[in-house]
């Protein structure tokens, strides 16, 4: 047939392009196997150096595997927009706190709405103008809402950039960091081995502050004021084991006497004091005390503009007991981390403990010089994310803008601190909403399972078609091969990752792709039964089956598309392969098998009996 020339060229082109897109994946596989096959490391290194560009190119263009197959970490993080809004507000009073509380509880019920809208709605309900707390008093609610929304958007973008910086410096290959909606970030990291460390690195707001430490007398007075605060009943349900409760730190004069009834524990029960005036909290009670100190009613008891903070790291006694010193610091920081320009993790010259050296910008340098000059002999606490790392006594005025964080556990932690300080502080705290981690060993199990199902799926479907439709089945099978080729090549070509659900999508597509052929063949059988000639029956089969094929493909495509739009992560992988497969099957079933039939008919390979 004359118009087949064009179709044949088209098919050849599609096949070639597909093979071309899959070629790097094959090369990558071959090269990796070859590298593994060398006996000595020297040989394999030599080979790798000789074929460096080839290896790199193949790797870059080869089919990417999803996190579930390769192993890695998928995280959904949320920027705490409420915190950001609170930062922007001034004049905060009890009313404001109450409304923010309402917004918070609303937010947990209606997910999806932006915080700013919820906030505006709450203020409207209370009939309070937003300008009372935000920006200029003359601004209208609408202006404020749009400005806050911009802040929200900026904060998310900034958070993404900062997190990208941190990940880049930590060193993860091909990280994916996307924003979703108004306050979420989706982060995909492949091949991460130390998830706990990465999590900490991502979450660290790195709010660095230099704060003046109040003198011990004031600390003592402050402790006395809050001593009788009850620890919340809920928090005490799990009392610490008796032996750790009675911590005896050497040098203890007296723990404040226990006057409260046993079941309503008070703060004094978990705070102790040493003879040198150091106030401490035993390790088991740390989280509890931190949360109690955060309570507004507790904060109100303290002297003006002061705050009780715990050390970030515990001190360890000779007996191996851990306790956290407590500091009373000025609430207003003297200087914040924004002035830090450079940070470097190193070991201290004196005691070879890890530490982080920091230098400041001009503004910070002059402020730091003034602060240190004015407070010689006093302690300045270096506070990171609410924990006191160290509180050195100022010996002299520091004009250089240098400072140091010590009291760090190990070098890894120091390095992470360096990264976080260099990348900058997050605009608002972030929290992890969703975490999916797959280890590489499970991933390779999934790959094996996926390969098995692809091979068996293909074998089963292909065999069925030949058994049921004999020679016509061969055409359908050839189309099926091309279909799979197209799906994989499109994935590789567009750098879309193959996931386990994606493989499921391919296997499912195999079953669905031959559907179009089934519809055509059944129609051809019918036409043959009516006594039409083979060529006429084939023509009629194709043209009459076309409308059902189109309808069924369109509906499947639509469903897959919706799945892609509303689905998350690996499910999108399924949707993508299903879409590509369905699209490809329109082409393979209608164009490819048609051309094959024409060729078969011309070459007398097929006759009336060839449709089984």
């Amino acid at each position: 047939m004359k118009n087949n020339t064009f179709k044949l060229i088209l098919i050849a082109l599609v096949t070639l392009v597909s093979l071309g897109a899959i070629w790097p994946t094959w090369r990558d596989h071959v090269l990796t196997e070859k590298l593994k096959s060398f006996r000595s490391g020297q040989d394999s290194l030599k080979f790798a150096l000789d074929h460096r560009t080839e290896i790199e190119q193949a790797k870059e263009k080869s089919l990417k595997l999803g996190l579930d197959l390769r192993g890695g970490m998928h995280l959904v993080m949320e920027v705490d927009v409420l915190d950001l809004i609170e930062q922007k507000a001034w004049n905060k009073d009890a009313n404001f706190t109450r409304i923010m509380g309402n917004v918070k509880s609303e937010a947990s019920r209606f997910s999806g709405a932006t915080m700013v809208d919820l906030l505006a709605a709450q203020f409207q309900k209370e009939n309070i103008r937003l300008s009372r707390y935000f920006y200029d008093i003359r601004d209208s609610d609408k202006e404020i809402v749009s400005r806050l929304k911009k802040e929200e958007q900026d904060a998310l973008t900034r958070a993404r950039e900062i997190i990208r910086n941190r990940i880049d410096q930590y060193g993860v290959a091909e990280p994916v960091i996307q924003t979703q909606g108004s306050q979420r970030l989706i982060i995909e990291l492949s091949g991460v081995t130390d998830e706990a460390r990465v999590r900490k690195l991502l979450m660290g707001t790195a709010k660095l502050e230099f704060r003046l430490v109040k003198d011990p007398k004031m600390l003592l007075r402050a402790i006395q004021r809050v001593a009788s605060v009850p620890l919340q009943a809920k928090a005490v349900t799990a009392p610490p084991p008796a032996d750790t409760a009675a911590v005896s730190v050497p040098g203890t004069v007296a723990t404040v006497p226990d006057t409260a009834p046993a079941n309503t524990k008070r703060l004094t029960d978990v705070i102790g004091m040493m003879e040198n005036g150091v106030v401490y909290v035993p390790a088991y009670a740390r989280d509890l005390v931190v949360s109690v100190l955060k309570r507004d009613d507790v904060a109100a008891l303290l002297p003006q503009d002061t705050q009780l903070l715990l050390a970030a790291k515990p001190e360890v006694t000779v007996k191996g007991e851990k306790y956290y010193p407590v500091y009373l610091v000025r609430k207003t920081p003297e200087l914040t981390g924004g002035v830090i320009t450079e940070a470097r993790a190193t070991f201290s010259a004196q005691d070879s403990q890890p530490e982080v050296l920091m230098s400041m910008n001009e503004e910070g340098t002059s402020k730091w010089a003034r602060i240190t000059g004015a407070n010689i002999g006093k302690q300045v606490a270096i506070v990171l994310d609410g924990g006191v790392y160290s509180a050195p006594v100022v010996q002299s005025r520091i004009p250089s803008g240098n400072s140091v964080i010590n009291g760090i556990g190990d070098l890894d932690e120091a390095k992470d601190l360096e990264i976080i300080l260099k990348a900058g502080a997050l605009p608002a705290p972030v929290k992890i909403l969703e975490e999916r981690t797959v280890g590489p060993s499970l991933g390779s199990d999934y790959i094996r399972a996926g390969m098995f199902s692809m091979i068996w799926g293909f074998t089963a479907v292909a065999l069925f078609m030949i058994v049921y439709y004999s020679k016509a089945g061969i055409a359908a099978d050839m189309a099926l091969v091309l279909n799979i080729l197209i799906v994989i090549s499109v994935l590789a070509g567009f750098s879309a990752a193959l996931t386990l659900p994606g493989i499921a999508g391919i296997v499912l597509t195999m079953g669905m792709a031959v559907d179009a052929n089934v519809l055509i063949y059944e129609r051809i059988r019918e036409e043959l039964a009516e006594g039409k000639s083979l060529r006429m029956a084939v023509d009629a089969g194709y043209s009459r089956a076309f409308s059902s094929i189109l309808d069924s493909h369109v509906t499947t495509l639509a469903a897959a598309f919706l799945l892609y739009v509303y689905g998350v992560g690996p499910i999108q992988g399924f949707a993508v392969t299903l879409m590509i497969g369905t699209g490809a099957s329109l082409f393979t079933a209608i164009v490819v098998t048609r051309v094959l039939f024409d060729l078969f008919l011309d070459s007398k390979f097929m006759d009336e009996k060839s449709f089984g």
């Binding site: 659900p501 499921a504 079953g511 031959v514 069924s552 509906t555 499947t556 689905g567 089984g612």
Partner: protein, 308 residues
Amino acid sequence: MRLFQKTNFNFIRHRKIAYAISMALLLSGIVSLFVRGLNYGIDFKGGSEVVIRFEKPVEVGVVRSIMDQAGVKGSVKQFGMDRSLLLKTDYQGETTALKALILNSLGTRLPANSASILSLQAVGPSIASDMKLSAIKALGAALIGILLYVSIRFEFKFAAAGVVAIFHDVLTVLGLFSLLGGLIDFMPLEVDQSIIAAFLTIAGYSITDTVVVYDRIRERLRGQKPSEYERIFNESMNQTLSRTIITSGTTMLSVVILFIFAGPAIRSFAFAMFAGILVGTYSSIFVAAPIVFDWQSRSKNPIKLRGS
């Protein structure tokens, strides 16, 4: 080879029986949905899932009691892979702490059988409720989209009956999940993201079979009198019976392969697909076309079909 030679079933005459079967299926599903509810996965409920692999085979009961004593509340089941267990808990705190808790307690209690964590998934409650919302949106949008498309390609009655059939299929599978959820060890039948994927695929696929039948009815119906409708409906359904079943058959073949080979993570999905395709094939013959027929015989307007 031919599985169906010339068939001559009177589908339309016996449609009431089919309706009764469908109603029974749906009712038992709905009752179960109300009584037993659904077994939601962590995607929609929030919580954590941890896959633990041991070096040597281990009793599920032993691990369960160790976890109980460690204060990890939840369930421990076989994961469907060698020496692997799936621990589910509603724990939503810091995953580092959860990991440490699991490994420490297993390490002290089973020192001779080292355990490692293969995968860990933790979903917070706010994400879970978002995912639920997106799932409902996706299903709703799919149904509306299909309704519109089939209305344009055929006629509203056909489209509506097709959507009823989809509802029928999805609800039946959902009912099945509710009835069997948590009862079978090697497939938990939890409703999670992958099941939503299955539902959407079922929706798309259910209409595929239906359209094949519709297409033939449309072709045969042109210029016929309403009195001939019953015969035409029956003949069309018989003529398309073979292709309806073979198309479903090939897809079911690949779904069965998935069920057997693709591992525990895909098994519930494959089960949902299998049930969905089965019910979908049934419904396109016994639900969609008969509804169109009943609706048509009650309305005064003759069928005005678009397209070819």
